[in-house]
Symmetry: C2
């Protein structure tokens, strides 16, 4: 893949800052937006992107981030409603080609799919991994005892 | 794997309740512990396990759940400190054979590993999936244009 994309990341918590650091290091232009300026402390010293302090659900803030020029927008806040709103604006109004969102409530994933937004649900992913680990752990112990 | 294990789940949020429902349905004996009784509403009507309302960091509460008899204990609360403490008690004092914990701060995973506790970090898992999706999405679009 090309690594000179313009990528907007909404939310600079653990997930957002991790993605921002990684994608910036890979050579992309990255802008991160967060209402809480202190979250920018999680950006690594070599992060070469922009930081925008503001509420991404405000159209003026999204425009300030030049989200309308983004190749990719990733909504990573802890609020499903915020992620849905920002992702929808990016996809439908700004025509951002690739929009991804973190979603906490798996029941909402269908809504995002209809809007052409890719979703990742950490809870569902973690649940699958825990169930797998429980199954494997049990199998290993049974194997060890026999 | 055998599905007649006794499984203690600490925290009945989205992840805990999902695991409890699934593992109970699969035929295991399940006990869930949460400080907030309203979280038990997320358990499905066919959940056949026990509900314990209390603070799992209190030894008396953990004993009430019979965590010392558990084959598996899963710490799924939103607090890394709580998960670490409960998992440690389960592993070291109760000798629970298989202990798993959700961990939010990936830096802590080494500590858990030393204690013989399996960990799953939803943030790390989600980050990998987002980076993969960004890479794939870009590749697909480039493919489509060429």
């Amino acid at each position: 893949m090309k690594n000179n994309r313009f990528i907007a990341i909404v939310g600079c918590g653990r997930l957002g800052s991790h993605l921002a650091n990684h994608l910036s290091r890979a050579g992309n232009s990255v802008v991160v937006i967060d209402m809480d300026e202190s979250t920018f402390n999680d950006l690594s010293p070599d992060f070469s992107g922009f930081r925008v302090h503001g509420d991404a659900t405000q159209m003026a803030v999204l425009k300030e981030t030049k989200a309308n020029k983004a190749d990719v927008l990733i909504a990573t806040t802890h609020e499903d409603n915020v992620n849905l709103m920002v992702a929808q604006v990016a996809r439908r109004i700004f025509n951002v080609p690739h929009v991804l969102a973190r979603v906490f409530d798996p029941k909402r994933e269908a809504v995002y799919a209809q809007l052409g937004i890719d979703t990742i649900c950490p809870t569902s992913v973690a649940a699958k991994m825990f169930l797998q680990a429980v199954a494997n752990g049990t199998a290993e112990r049974e194997g060890a005892q026999s």
